[in-house]
Every structure is written in C-alpha cells, then in structure tokens.
C-alpha cells in the first residue's frame, strides 16, 4: 500500500474535504451559538434530523448482532466472512450516533449524567445504557482483528475463549435498544400520526432493523468489492437476502394484521402527505424488494441483489424519518425543515464514518479471504498466520 495515495486529489476526495470543512464550521457555530441559532428545532418539534439520523445509524448497524449471533451462537459458519464487516459497520454506526447525540444534546457537558443519575422508568435511560454497553461489546468483538494485525497471540486466545459471553450480551443489548427506539414514541399517541403510531412500535422497529442491517452488509460488500477490486461472495449474500425477504414479509404481515385489528385501514384512504409517504415507504421498502427477492434468479444476480438492498435501505430510512419527523409534523403545528447547519454537520459525520470504515478496512483484516474462513473452523493456528500475511 502506497502512503502517498492519500494526497492524490480525486473528485470524491475534494467533495469530502469540502463537506468536512463546512461541517466543522457548523459544529463550531452550533456549540458557540446554541441550538436555536444553528437548528430549525422549536418548542413543539424538539427533535429533528439528528435524532432521525440516530435511528438510522443504529438500525442500519443491526447486522452487527444478527450476523454475530448466526455465526457464533448458531454456528452457521457459512456467514463467517461477513461477521467482521458487520461488526465494524455496527461500531462505526454507533460512533456516529454518539457523536450526533453529543451535538444534539442541549447540555453536552452533562452527557455522563445517565451513568450516575438513574431513572429506570425512562426508555431514554434504557437506550443510553444499552448503547454504552453494546458499544463496549462491539469494541471487544472487534478487538481480535486488531490483535491479529499486531500478532498478539496470547490476548487473542483469551479473547476467543470468552468471546461468546460478549456475543450473547451483545444480542440481548441490541434486541432491547433496537426495539426501544420504537418504545420512545409509545408515550405520544396524540402526536405521532396513526399510520405509524402503534402499541407494537418496538416490535416493528426490531423486525425492520434486521432486514435493513443485512441489506446494509450486502450493499457494503458490493461497494467494497468495487473499491478494492475483490470478488463478491454471491452465495452468502443471496442467503442473507433470503433472510431479508422473510423478515420483510413477517414485518409486512404484522403491520397488516395490526392495521386490520386496530381499524387503521381507513387512514390509508385519506389523501394527505402522510398517507402518500406511507405508501412510498411500503412500496420502496417492502413491495419492490419482496417482489425482486422472491425470485431465486434475481436473488442470485449481482445487479438485482444490489438494487434490492438499496431499496430496503431507502425504505428503512423513509420509515424512520416518517416516525421521527414527518409523522409528528401535523401535531406540531409547523413544518420542520432541517437547517443548513443540521444538514452539514450530519453530512460531515457521514463522510467521516465512511472514511473511518475505509481506513479500517484498508489496514485490518476485515474483508478476509473466504477460503481461509472455511479452514478457520477446523484449524485455527494455520489461519492466524495466513491472515496476518494477507493484511501485510
């Protein structure tokens, strides 16, 4: 790897640098002038783009726990090659969320208060703790990759022995806070539009994050293959896509049953912005990908697999934005549109997250060779030496 590569200007590098510079200025402006000057938030719409993006960061990182569970708990080793990308995605997603939260908090200097000031009745308290614990778990889950790189075999062995404890804890923490993001809105039945408000919100959030998280891994695998000119493990990705398909169908059926039993079907016939957005969300995030993924030939086709993953992710983004922004707009009595600073800080953090992902992938054995992993289950010693050679 050549070190001077980094200074060679390309179109995307220039764009990224511009986004980061503008974002850095907006960050300075936000902290020196306060939320009122830098955001379009107001009293009846106190949450905006940043909270919406927190939902996305956490939801799209969901593969971190599903894939880890599949491989390490259920021992389905077929998915082993995507464990590391999934965990890395999760870790970077959560780092993004923590940064955005700090920016969004009115009193960021008090961010540590939930550690010592408890209110166990608060969903927000539970989410805070789960995110702290799960981020720690992610660091521990990713630690072996770093240890491998630096050939620290002794701690590596210790980690491998106790790793199952982290994995199980990670799955539990994730299940709790992924669903709790939905629970946040249980207390606002009068505010959130009935198309999205439901006593099953936590269940909907949990189900949708699984499909979106896996789609994110499919999406990343394609980008990674393009960036580093490596092959794509189509058989693993199409198996993952099959899980996405099942997940989308379950999510849709649950929604359907709930709409019928709660008598909410009537809202689908009322023409309004919310209704159109809801239809768009279901079309992009459920109908189209379900249609594509139902065909085996599409599921095993690179192009369609990629398209369907983009659709699922877009539908997921739309859903979370609808719950956190659009679905609340009518009751807030004013239309919230994110300010320039809100957008530029968010864009800066997304660019930084992408940069961090690339940097780690370049320097650590994240997307490792498939063959090595198949051997890995049989002969661990042999693999270790091989992986270090690859990384060098």
């Amino acid at each position: 790897m050549k070190n001077n590569d980094i200074f060679k200007p390309t179109f995307w590098k220039v764009v990224s640098v511009i986004i980061i510079i503008i974002g850095a200025y907006s960050t300075y402006y936000r902290f020196s002038q306060g939320l009122g000057a830098s955001t379009n938030l107001y009293d009846t719409s106190p949450w905006g783009l940043w909270i919406g993006f927190d939902f996305l960061g956490v939801g799209l990182a969901a593969a971190g726990f599903t894939i880890a569970a599949t491989v390490h708990i259920f021992h389905i080793h077929k998915f082993e090659p995507i464990v590391r990308p999934a965990i890395l995605t999760a870790f970077i997603g959560y780092s993004l969320v923590v940064c955005l939260l700090i920016v969004d908090l009115g009193r960021p200097e008090n961010f540590w208060h939930p550690l010592v000031m408890w209110n166990v009745h608060s969903v927000m308290f539970e989410i805070t703790w789960c995110i702290i614990c799960y981020s720690t778990v992610l660091i521990l889950e990713f630690a072996p990759v770093v240890l491998e790189k630096f050939k620290l075999t002794k701690p590596l062995k210790v980690f491998k022995k106790i790793s199952i404890v982290f994995v199980i804890a990670g799955v539990l923490f994730s299940t709790l806070h992924q669903s709790s993001f939905g629970s946040l809105y249980l207390i606002v039945p009068g505010r959130l539009h009935p198309l999205w408000y439901s006593s099953l919100l936590p269940v909907h959030f949990f189900i949708s994050c699984i499909g979106a998280g896996l789609s994110m891994i499919i999406f990343e695998s394609f980008l990674n293959a393009r960036a580093f000119n490596t092959g794509i493990r189509i058989n693993i990705l199409s198996s993952a896509a099959f899980v996405v398909l099942i997940d989308l169908i379950i999510g849709f059926l649950l929604k359907l049953v709930e709409f019928i039993s709660a008598g909410k079907l009537i809202y689908l016939t009322i023409p309004s912005t919310e209704t159109y957005l809801f239809y768009l969300e279901i079309l992009i995030g459920t109908f189209l990908p379900v249609y594509i993924l139902s065909y085996k030939k599409f599921r095993e086709d690179k192009k369609w697999l990629f398209i369907s993953s983009v659709l699922v992710i877009s539908g997921f983004i739309l859903n979370r934005m609808n719950v956190s922004i659009t679905g609340l707009a009518a009751s807030s009595g004013r239309n919230y549109i994110p300010s320039f600073d809100e957008i530029s800080i968010t864009m800066m953090l997304v660019v930084l997250a992408m940069f961090a992902f690339r940097l780690v992938v370049k320097n650590f054995p994240v997307f490792t060779d498939e063959e090595n992993f198949i051997k890995n289950t049989d002969n661990e010693k042999e693999i270790k030496s091989k992986q270090i050679i690859i990384s060098e």
């Binding site: 009293d43 708990i73 908090l105 008090n110 199980i168 669903s179 039945p189």
Partner: protein, 265 residues
Amino acid sequence: MLKGKGILFDANLCIGCGACYEACKEKNNLPKTNTEYLKDHLSGNTFTVVEQYGNNYARKLCMHCDEPSCVSVCPVGAFKKNEFGAVLYDENKCIGCRYCMQACPHKVPRYEWNKTQPRVRKCNMCSDRIEAGGITACAEACPTEATLFGDMEKLVAVAKKRLQNNPSKYYQHIYGIEEAGGSHVLIISPVPFEQLGYTSKLPNKPMPELTMQAMDKIPPVVAVGGVFLTGMYWLTKRKNQIAREERKLSVKHETIKADEVNHEE
C-alpha cells in the same frame, strides 16, 4: 382521588385581564416577551398565557399531572413531583435531550433555544411560596376567582358546585380530573375544551403506563433470550462437534480399510 394542592381555572369567570400573566412574569423574574399579552405564547420566558377564543379566555400552563410523562421519560430524573403535587425541574441534572418536550401530552415544556446552556422552562406552581404557606402568584393576582389555588379536594368540590349551580353556563366536565390520569390543574369552561385549545381525546389513564407496557417486557426478554441463546450455543456447538468427530471416524475407517487392502496385497 387527587391529593395535595393545585389550581382551578374557570374560563367562565376569566375576564382576560392578564393579571396572572403579569404576576407570573414578575414572580419568576421573566423578561417581557410581547407587547400584547393576549397574543403571547408559552416560551422559555413565559410560563403562563391567557388566550382569547371568541368571547372566552383560556389560561395555558403546566398541568402538573398526577403521573407526569416528563417525570417518567427523563433519563436522568431531572423532573420530580414534589410532596404537594408540583412538577419541578432540576437544571443541574438535565442533559438536554428534550424527551420531556416530546412526551408531554399538553405540549407544555419550553426550551431556551438561544442559550448555550439551555434549560427546560415551565410553571413550577410557585413551589417556594407554597412551601412558605402562601398561594401561587397567579391565583393571588386574579381579581375574579377565575384562578383559585388550594387543596385538590376543595378545588374539585368548588368546581363540581359551579357546574351544578349553573348547568346552562358550564360544559359538564372538569378537565384534568381524569385526562392523562388526572392533573393538579383543573379547568372548567362554558364550551368543550378543545374549543379553548386544550388537548382533547387524551386517554384517561396515566401516559407513562403506555411506556411501562413495553418496559415491563424487558426482564423476561433478557431472561428468556439469555437462556435461549446460551442453549442454542451449546446445542449447535455440540452438533458440529459430533459431525466433525464422525467425519474423523469415517476417515479413520477408510485408512484402516485401505491398510487392510494393502496387507492383503
């Protein structure tokens, strides 16, 4: 039944003079926010307003719910309900997540958006005056008994009596007696409450119960999930181990067979 102390607002008696508005500003050292008090709205510097709806006037202020959403949602417990029923905010605990503002069924808490160390602001029921044995500034300033302060039981009795004595003048319901599980601010009015801008269609049970339905499931999810995952870990591991051993055995058998073939040759 609601205990402690509270405020009764009677829209029938309110003349829209704005004395409560001014008294509240003075008591809480709040700067002037509008030249016309009837056009002002709740904000970081305004804890109560008088609004005009046709011939009627309506006061808006923190309802001091019996089981407040803000107290239940705050991750750091910055909101507390005090002994006589006021809902109080502690700015030293607050992290500024603004979940209280999102969750309040009456959309009351306001934020100091233009400060770098912002606080959530709302009516505190003049708790310092109450503790010293006094009454709230708004009730003291009111010239017509439209705003009364006192024991909840007495206020409910007064409200019921007014509704009974003048059934033609009053819409026959006390707002706040069961809305969102009841509140320490009660309102009576000549017209249905949504016509005066109060949040209607609130459930009659405390709002935090909606969250508790989900939070209650956390311990069983953790327990069952933990046992299930650990169980699956051992089961699948064992299954793979057996499969591997069988594979080894069959390899051994093959080599033995091959040896035998060699011997025979």
